[in-house]
Symmetry: D2
Subunit: 148 residues, 4 copies
């Protein structure tokens, strides 16, 4: 199993809710932020346009399990794995740890499947696309599994 990509992030006050903990929906945002950090690191654009066609990575599936509370000010370590690369899609797994003085505390686990798509810049429906060789070259070395 490949090493995870590591992304750190501190929990903001506006991310908490009246139960006193981070609202569960934020974990989905943090998973996407971890993916964005990975793509930036690899030089793969999260969104792109050549003026005729726009390219992007919408999610078709996302899930999470919450093991423990995440609170305001917590320093999170998000560990991101590229679990599978398919012809037109990428499957990620993310685990969130709360960092502190002792052992990192595993607080949440999740998965996301993103699809590579294009659409006309002037509007119109999205169409899924095969990952380009340039994307595959950068992403495949991190993947547990490449299905082509």
């Amino acid at each position: 199993m490949a090493e995870p990509f590591i992304y750190h992030r501190r929990v903001d006050f506006f991310e908490t809710d009246m139960a006193g903990i981070a609202h569960f929906s934020n974990f989905f945002r943090w998973m996407e932020a971890a993916e964005a950090a990975l793509l930036r690191h690899l030089g793969i654009p999260m969104t792109d346009s050549d003026g005729m066609t726009d390219y992007g990575w919408p999610r078709v599936r996302a899930s999470a399990e919450y093991h423990d509370a995440i609170r305001f000010g917590d320093e999170l370590e998000l560990r991101l794995w590229v679990r599978a690369i398919k012809v037109k899609a990428v499957e990620y797994e993310v685990k969130a740890y709360v960092m502190g003085e002792g052992e990192p505390r595993h607080a949440a686990s999740g998965k996301m499947t993103t699809v590579y798509v294009c659409k006309p810049t002037t509007g119109g429906p999205m169409k899924s696309l095969a990952l380009t060789p340039a994307i595959l070259d950068k992403l495949a070395p991190l993947a547990d599994d490449v299905i082509s």
Copy 2:
């Protein structure tokens, strides 16, 4: 299969992202809003406190699949089913439809498992609790399955 609880909601501008569609994380917020509308309808508090103990319904699991784009201004119909009631937890399923002149367009599907918990009002860890008879009386008639 029981009839779903229906909750309507219009997509806000701030819920869109630069891809021109509603950000995927909002569907998790709308699922929770549909649950809150159901609990309000049934007279079950989403959060409660007797000054000593606080009660609430954190999520332990949530997932979604995205079938089609949801856009700014779309009138959404969220259909919520109580799929199962367990001793300390409730399992919901939600489907989001975009309403318009023709047939409603099925845009997303999701599931959430919430757990009934309490914690001391003055702080301390959350503890899961058996659903009370008052909650069961109100929620069980809507449930496909009650496991006790």
Copy 3:
């Protein structure tokens, strides 16, 4: 002084923070939602595109004062006034009231100035535009002041 445009909205759980009240930033989102409801009511698009040029209403200025707490589940009445129409801009004022059994409780007041802009659909800088006669015809009757 013209009558305000009225827009209702219930406070969501995800809009609260760990202080137990709605996070202050949401009032800016609700002001924009009230503006969007007004524009929809008048038939003025909040965003538009002819495939060559995109049109929109970014904010250049926004401010708020908070008088009283707004909580989860509160039914809000947002009262929106078109305070001034300028050649390329509109100035709004919004007051938020929490509705209940007695007198509505005035909880927040704010102002926003939006500018009418266009930009090439294929990307490029935004440019401010004079409000069109079609927009003026619809918006001016609600305005306290029209400066042309």
Copy 4:
């Protein structure tokens, strides 16, 4: 004029809207995040509780002016000044700069007034409080003006 406190932050994808830029409401969240970073740096808790009474810093006033677009992936530098310390309140000013290869680009300016408050942990209304000597000792050296 005192030196500003510096806080960096990268713009997330979920912070953009369909106009292709960061939604204006996020600047209010970033201003609060800059304040939280300052208070953390100084050892002043953003929220606190002794089990009987909760302490916090709600905003009574906030405003912003937007000079230029802020986009996904932009590295922001938020410069925070403590403009005035009053008996029970603090006035902040924040300027947001987009960092890049050339000169930082000044994109937004804002102000916030926070009030120091307490409320019973078991619920009840908030009450404003005089800043404690411990808070004053830490915050006053950064302030342009202290009004006591």
